[in-house]
């Protein structure tokens, strides 16, 4: 079975992590990789003062979630993420989608579609 595999990358506010994770779990996603990144986007950080000197913050703390899925649920993931993250304000985040050439599960040696099926 040679279905197309995609990676969905969501970059958004750190505080949304819990809620996003739960929402993704509910649509059956179990594999997620999270990293802390610094984002530079349309959103500008509040100017902070340190000892009276302005401190421009143009790198804001963000989280990046990477989710690799088979073709069908890509849209579902995107819709779910949009539902959870959308506030209409700057800083809501961006979603990037990439093609994945292959996936291997080390534990079983399965490849491709099989490697993404959850079972113990």
């Amino acid at each position: 079975m040679d279905k197309k595999i995609s990676k969905i990358e969501i970059i958004t506010r750190p505080r949304m992590l819990e809620e996003l994770k739960e929402a993704l779990n509910q649509i059956g996603i179990t594999g997620i990789t999270v990293s802390s990144v610094l984002g530079c986007g349309m959103q500008k950080g509040a100017t902070e003062y340190y000892r009276g000197v302005p401190l421009e913050i143009n790198l804001l703390p963000k989280i990046k979630l990477e989710i690799v899925v088979c073709e069908v649920p890509v849209d579902l993931v995107i819709e779910t993420a949009k539902k959870v993250l959308h506030t209409g304000n700057i800083g809501d985040g961006k979603i990037f989608v990439y093609d994945v050439a292959n996936v291997i599960r080390v534990r079983t040696g399965e490849e491709g579609w099989d490697a993404l099926q959850d079972k113990i």
Binding site: E48, Y49, Y50, R51, G52, V53, P54, L55
Partner: protein, 403 residues
């Protein structure tokens, strides 16, 4: 057995121990308010300062400061404690020396803060030797060792000038000559380089405050005198008042309760009351504290943005400015002789003159030292080393490992 001698010696010994822990305070304040990539370097400088300070004072400094007076200008005898008396100022000689030796290292530490994050380790070590064998003992002799300022009636109870103003001025010269940190002034604009660990810095301030009760309280060398407890209270009030005034002034001026300035405020107040701790009233201490908190913030802004001297921890403003002004304020607030207590202008004049003499001397001596260092071994590390951090380059180690 003289009971007063024992009591006072005991108190001075305990005070010396309290002053010792101030070195932990200085180290933490410096570490907390600078970048993590230089933390090991700062730690090393602080340990070296203690090591050099006390030994230099033993071999040379004590003799120059408290040895037999030569022309009201310098002491000269008692090196390595040869031929010292059994008791001094009503305490046993040993505790007197201990207290003085631990004081000595403080002066150099102040300089280390202002020059942090870009100064060559070995250059600092050389300066530290000069500061603890010449600068501090010489000026200290004038004030406390029977020199001409003492004769003139100049009053500096616990070292508002002898330690803090002198150290702060040397810090100004050093910070000016070594130049600012990479990225501090970009295209004429001042950039903030935030400290990396505020809780550690705050712990440092509280440890310093704790030790200051020994620094000021111990400077009476006399636990039988009510002045000792009085000094402890003025120390408490000076620090408390300045904490609050710096907090409020930072809110007024920068619209935010600034942590760095509030913590510096506590120190500014402590420095401010140091020169007069035993001579001012409680309200005097509170007023000086309030003023110190505000003046320190103005001074930080002035050095940072106007003079463009880069002082990562605010040592010049805290120690130099508040130390000097606090000593002059003795001429206003001393209950015995101060202007506000009907003493006229004479004490005020003496205090001002004394401070000017001391800070000029400190400025000249440290300027000469740093210029020689700059021309010979160099003061500043290379830009690459500075950007990568002194820890990896000079010490081959990182302060923190997280992975």
């Amino acid at each position: 057995m003289d009971i007063n001698l024992i009591l006072n010696s005991m108190w001075t010994l305990i005070s010396a121990i309290l002053v010792f822990i101030m070195h932990a305070g200085f180290a933490l304040v410096e570490v907390g308010f600078t970048q993590s990539k230089n933390a090991v370097n700062i730690i090393m400088k602080n340990f070296v300062t203690v090591g050099i300070g006390v030994l230099a004072f033993y071999f040379v400094g004590y003799g120059l400061m408290y040895g037999n007076d030569l022309g009201s200008f310098i002491g000269f005898s008692s090196f390595m404690l040869h031929n010292t008396p059994e008791t001094v100022s009503g305490v046993s000689f040993e505790v007197y020396f201990l207290f003085q030796a631990i004081f000595c290292a403080t002066c150099a530490t102040i300089v280390s803060g202002a020059m942090a994050e870009r100064t060559k380790f070995y250059a600092y070590i050389v300066f530290c030797v000069v500061a603890t064998t010449i600068i501090y003992p010489l000026i200290g002799h004038w004030i406390w060792g029977g020199g001409f300022l003492a004769a003139m009636g100049f009053r500096d109870f616990a070292g508002g000038t002898a330690v803090h103003a002198i150290g702060g001025v040397a810090a100004l010269i050093g910070a000016y000559l070594v130049g600012p940190r990479e990225g501090k002034y970009k295209k004429g604009k001042v950039k903030a380089i935030p400290g990396h660990n505020i809780p550690l810095g705050a712990l440092g301030v509280l440890i310093l405050w704790f030790g200051w009760f020994g620094f000021n309280g111990g400077s009476t060398l006399d636990i039988t005198s009510p002045l000792t407890a009085h000094s402890a209270i003025t120390t408490l009030f000076g620090g408390a008042a300045a904490t609050l005034s710096a907090l409020l002034f930072s809110i007024v001026r920068y619209k935010t309760p600034d942590a760095g300035l509030t913590l510096n405020g506590a120190l500014a107040g402590l420095v401010g009351v140091t020169a007069g701790a035993s001579m001012i009233t409680y309200m005097g201490a509170i007023i000086i504290g309030v003023a110190a908190g505000i003046i320190m913030i103005l001074a930080v802004g002035f050095f940072d943005s106007v003079l463009k001297v880069d002082d990562p921890v605010g040592a010049i403003s805290v120690h130099g400015v508040c130390g000097s002004l606090g000593t002059i304020a003795v001429g206003l607030f001393a209950t015995d002789g101060g202007l506000f207590y009907g003493g006229g202008f004479s004490l005020l004049g003496i205090q001002t003159l004394g401070v000017l003499v001391c800070i000029s001397a400190s400025a000249v001596l440290s300027f000469v030292t740093f210029i020689i260092l700059k021309k010979t071994m160099g003061l500043k590390v290379s830009q690459d080393h500075e950007i990568d951090g002194l820890d990896n380059i000079e010490h081959g180690i990182s302060a923190y490992i997280n992975l």
